[in-house]
């Protein structure tokens, strides 16, 4: 267990050099719920002044660990020490609470819906006996920082997701705790609000010297943390600084195009375990850090297929996590190659066509002139913050909701007149999976087959196909309620495909599934699209997943504001805003302020690093360095980074918001 060893060593260094600075010390932590072991032997040290991240999928034990540290949950083994107090009884737990702020999981769930923003804050402050003078001063500052002051009197139940999240943070921090424990504060919030949240948090830490223990299910947020632990199945798979974790699994990511893609994937899979297709691109993790060596390995594996547009990068943290997961628990690769349907499907032709769709609810226009096309065999991603109109578009295309104006063709049927036909020809999978948890896998599939009126022979045939395609063999007689989330998700997909639909709608299908499960799911989706020619329309709030789509449309306030392939969208933003650079400097918090003063308004803090956009790389880079060094900060390095789709999303939405924002008339995001 190499990675655990590495985790230990990083803790040793923490203990030896800054022993007195350890605010949280956890060793051999065990938590059981009846027979189920939720956390099994976790060690963790959080030092003063850092943002410590717990990363892991649902059910990995993050929440149990955080609650126990906050003194609001008992545990069954090991030791938890906070501020030097052993938290082993209710009485001991009470002693640490004055210095502690805890934000439980669930967006806005710990707030009081009937109370206004101000009343919510006041309640938390009064509960903590914050003096009236301090309260007024802090409230003003925090409300200004979160841009919530305009909504002081608005009831919490009328706030948007991003606003609830910010209010939750204010309430947790109003008594200025020394340690803030935040359980998944960014889950369910759109990327723009998430970025804003991290910015606010970074500023507060900078000002008050607070320590933060925070958890997230988004792998791409790992870079926000000074140090982190990656949890899976109640155990720590890796911990340390992001760079340290990255070093645990040396390797490189090779990205390239190769045709035919399916043949290339089959060949690559013989030598590599992490092969992903991102639209036309292939994304392969190689076990060598030497970039030219990695390239050679790929070429050797591909044989006579020649890779084009090859790029070799350092692996992202998510790739590292997947490698660790694969290494640790021999993940069973159950998905076989399903027999391709006998009838060769027509892979061309338009599967979904939306033209000028408009939908109004009273005076509110939820969808405003949306047009797009999805071809058979294409994976199309619909992105956008909550309330941007994604779900309304899907409902109209499914024939559930009539458009106010505009037309649409789904699987050859007109959505205005042939809603019934559409429902026969499409598959739909929702976030909730809509499975019967008390039925077995087989019973669920047969039930859906029955609902769609399959006869006995085609049912048997289809059943076999689904089990192979979704990698469900071995689970046939398991109760659905007892399946891991990833398997449940694949079953839901199978059930949506029972009647061989030519068009598939997926509404946020991957929430709560671990990264390996998500990758497995996407592998199935791309097979469906490439081999079966199924058209797939998907909505997701995981921006890293949007990379898998062939084409994307970004919705904002009911309109499509950007569209194209992921690469196109990035190019467009690069053209408008410039290229992305990562700056490493000492005292990153101060550096951020200086950069913003120097005119880099898009500057953002990622853990200890800063991101800035440079329209003219040479000139802007020099300008940034000068601004920092004139203020007495030392710049360690400035390097270019590839844009992520999240950068694209945030840039687009922010510039739209700025354009819309008339002073004094700010609207809720």
């Amino acid at each position: 267990m190499k990675e655990i060893g590495a985790a230990d060593s990083s803790q040793h260094s923490a203990l030896s050099s800054q022993h007195f600075d350890a605010i949280v010390k956890v060793s051999g932590f065990v938590k059981r719920y009846k027979k189920h072991v939720a956390v099994d032997g976790v060690d963790l040290t959080v030092r003063k002044g850092e943002i410590y991240g717990l990363i892991g999928p649902d059910g990995s034990g993050k929440s149990s660990l955080m609650k126990a540290i906050a003194g609001v949950l008992t545990y069954d083994g090991g030791a938890v020490e906070v501020f030097g107090t052993k938290v082993d009884s209710e009485r001991a737990a009470e002693r640490i609470k004055p210095k502690l702020g805890f934000l439980p999981q669930g967006l806005g769930l710990n707030l009081y819906p009937e109370l206004s923003i101000e009343e919510n804050i006041d309640f938390f402050a009064h509960l903590r006996l914050v003096p009236a003078k301090d309260l007024i001063e802090r409230k003003a500052r925090l409300l200004a920082m979160t841009r919530l002051e305009r909504f002081r009197d608005r009831a919490m139940k009328h706030l948007s997701g991003g606003m609830k999240q910010k209010l939750g943070l204010i309430c947790t921090l109003i008594h200025e705790p020394e340690l803030a424990i935040l359980d998944e504060p960014t889950t369910g919030v759109d990327p723009v609000s998430r970025r804003e949240f991290w910015l606010i948090l970074a500023n507060l830490i900078q000002e008050k010297g607070m320590t933060v223990l925070v958890s997230t299910a988004y792998m791409d947020e790992a870079e926000r943390f000074h140090r982190l632990s990656f949890l899976s199945g109640g155990k720590v798979l890796a911990s340390g600084m992001p760079t340290e974790v990255q070093a645990l699994v040396p390797g490189s990511m090779v990205t390239f195009e190769a045709t035919p893609q399916l043949e290339a994937i089959a060949r690559l899979k013989k030598s590599f375990r992490q092969v992903e297709s991102l639209g036309p691109l292939l994304h392969v993790f190689t076990g060598t850090a030497d970039q030219s060596e990695a390239r050679l390995q790929i070429e050797a594996a591909l044989g006579d297929l020649v890779p084009a547009a090859v790029r070799v990068d350092q692996p992202e943290l998510e790739d590292v996590f997947v490698a660790l997961l694969l290494r640790n628990n021999e993940h069973k690769e159950t998905s076989g190659r399903p027999p391709t349907s006998a009838a060769a499907h027509n892979h061309d032709g338009v599967a979904i066509e939306a033209e000028g769709l408009i939908r109004e609810f009273g005076t509110f226009r939820a969808v405003d002139g949306v047009s797009f096309q999805v071809k058979q065999g294409e994976i199309f991603g619909l992105l956008g913050a909550n309330g941007a109109g994604k779900t309304t578009v899907i409902k109209m295309l499914n024939g559930i909701l009539l458009p106010t104006a505009g037309a649409g063709l789904v699987a050859g049927a007109d959505m205005r007149t042939a809603a019934g036909t559409i429902k026969q020809r499409i598959g739909y999978m929702s976030q909730a999976f809509s499975l019967y948890l008390d039925l077995t896998v087989e019973e669920n599939i047969r039930l859906f087959a029955g609902i769609y009126g399959l006869d006995k022979r085609s049912m048997t045939k289809r059943y076999q196909w689904i089990v192979t395609m979704a990698g469900l063999s071995g689970y046939e007689s398991s109760l659905t309620g007892q399946l891991p989330m990833g398997v449940r998700q694949r079953l839901a997909l199978g059930c949506a495909l029972v009647h061989s639909p030519r068009v598939l709608f997926l509404d946020e299908p991957t929430s709560g599934v671990d990264p390996i499960g998500r990758r497995h799911f996407w592998e199935i989706l791309s097979k469906l699209a490439r081999e079966e020619g199924v058209a797939i329309l998907i909505t997701t709030h995981y921006m890293s997943e949007a990379e898998h789509c062939d084409n994307l449309a970004l919705m904002y306030a009911g309109r499509i504001v950007a569209e194209g392939s992921p690469a196109d969208m990035k190019r467009q933003v690069e053209k408008e805003a410039g290229r992305l650079f990562e700056v490493v400097a000492d005292q990153p918090g101060k550096a951020l302020v200086y950069l913003q003063q120097a005119g880099f308004h898009g500057a953002a803090l990622f853990g200890t690093k800063l991101h800035i956009f440079c329209r003219d790389p040479v000139r802007d880079k020099a300008c940034a360095c000068r601004a920092l060094e004139e203020s007495g900060l030392h710049v360690t390095s400035v390097s270019e980074r590839p844009l992520s789709l999240e950068d694209v999303f945030v840039y687009r939405v922010m510039s739209l918001e700025q354009a819309e924002r008339v002073p004094g008339q700010e609207v809720a995001v």
Binding site: F102, L109, L127
Partner: protein, 384 residues
């Protein structure tokens, strides 16, 4: 115990309750509604029994006889019929619940000194109802017979009417109803309904108020804060105790002004007992809320616990001494019986502290025990 923290919790709880329309209705409308619905609906008096007559004699004496039924407040005359088959149909449709058939030659036979048989047909669907009706019929019939006899004696022996009555009815009965002079079931039921309405609304409100916080996770604000267990519980209960106290006043007014039940007792004793009972009922809600996780579970358990012993063992419908020995023991295990005693004693009997101090003591005991149990069950560092 820091009063500022208690006030913070109480104020928040109060705002949430009065702003949530569902909670607000449950808090103030539900008890009054129960009281009015049951006060009018749970009347056990049998009055205005609809009936029809078939007068085959059509004489002045037969009309005199039937007139005694028609003018009685216990009966409601719905008309006379000419055929027995019509009676069957009317009874079948429940248009009437009783019919009286006067035979032919009723007057002629009576004046000739012979006896006659009048037939009464009663709807026996509700035995208690039919029995009571039968009692009324017998009473009316008896008084008619008595009068005939008195008349006869006066006429034949040439006596004065008083003397004749003494002779005809050597033992006369004098009944006096105490506490409820008119023997109205409303008078006995409505005060007990104050207990019933409080027992349903306050535990429900309290239980849902706490479990709501558990369900959403906002209870973690309390767990992770510096507020102590007692501060939280006191702050949390205060609004519900206030609401229930307002309800006691409202229910009292409904009883006195709407149902016209006289209040004869000591108002201070009544208020003291009511406050203790409110502490008991909210305490029951609090204990339930600490044992369950979801609002649905809290709702079901509270309704079962609040309703079953309240209806069966509190003396609401059946007096406790009339219960089986086992049921009597159970009745003493819940606070409802003691409060019912105090309420009825205060309203109807005009009893004071002297007669009811044991009930008050029992209520105080229940209140203390329930609140202590709640304190013991509540933990800021739970197992799951």
């Amino acid at each position: 115990m820091n009063p500022r923290r208690i006030a913070a919790v109480a104020r928040k709880e109060w705002k949430e309750t009065v702003r949530d329309r569902l909670f607000l209705l449950m808090a103030f409308l539900l008890p009054a509604l129960w009281m009015v619905v049951f006060g009018y609906g749970l009347v056990l008096d049998v009055e205005h029994v609809p009936f029809a007559v078939l007068d085959r004699d059509q004489s002045s004496l037969s009309r005199d006889y039937l007139y005694r039924f028609i003018e009685s407040r216990y009966f409601d005359y719905r008309g006379s019929v000419s055929d027995e088959r019509e009676i069957d149909q009317l009874l079948g449709d429940t248009a009437i619940r009783m019919a009286i058939v006067v035979p032919e030659r009723f007057e002629e036979r009576l004046l000739a000194g012979r006896s006659v048989t009048v037939q009464t047909l009663l709807d026996g669907t509700f035995p208690l109802h039919a029995d009571t009706t039968k009692g009324y019929v017998i009473a009316v019939n008896n008084s008619f017979t008595q009068e005939l006899l008195t008349d006869f004696l006066a006429r034949t022996r040439g006596l004065g009417s008083d003397e004749a009555r003494r002779l005809a009815e050597p033992v006369s009965l004098e009944t006096r109803y105490l506490y409820n002079q008119e023997v109205r079931s409303t008078w006995s039921m409505v005060p007990a309904l104050i207990m019933f309405a409080l027992m349903v609304a306050s535990p429900l409100l309290t239980a849902l108020g706490v479990v709501r916080e558990k369900e959403t996770g906002s209870i973690y604000n309390i767990y992770s804060s510096t507020a102590s267990k007692a501060e939280y519980l006191v702050g949390k209960l205060a609004p519900y105790v206030t609401i229930s106290t307002i309800n006691v006043a409202a229910l009292w007014m409904i009883a006195v002004w709407l149902f016209r039940v006289p209040f004869k007792g000591n108002i201070a004793v009544f208020i003291a007992a009511s406050m203790l009972f409110v502490l008991c009922s909210t305490g029951i809600g609090l204990v339930i809320s600490l044992l369950v996780r979801t609002q649905m579970a809290a709702l079901i358990i509270t309704i079962i616990i609040a309703m079953v012993p309240t209806i069966l063992f509190s003396g609401l419908l059946v007096p406790v001494p009339s219960l089986s020995p086992g049921a009597q023991v159970q009745a003493h295990l819940f606070p409802m019986m003691y409060y019912t005693d105090v309420v009825r004693g205060s309203f109807l009997k005009g009893l004071g502290l002297k007669a009811m101090w044991t009930d008050l003591l029992a209520l105080a005991g229940f209140a203390v025990v329930l609140q202590l149990v709640a304190y013991g069950l509540f933990t800021k560092r739970p197992k799951a």
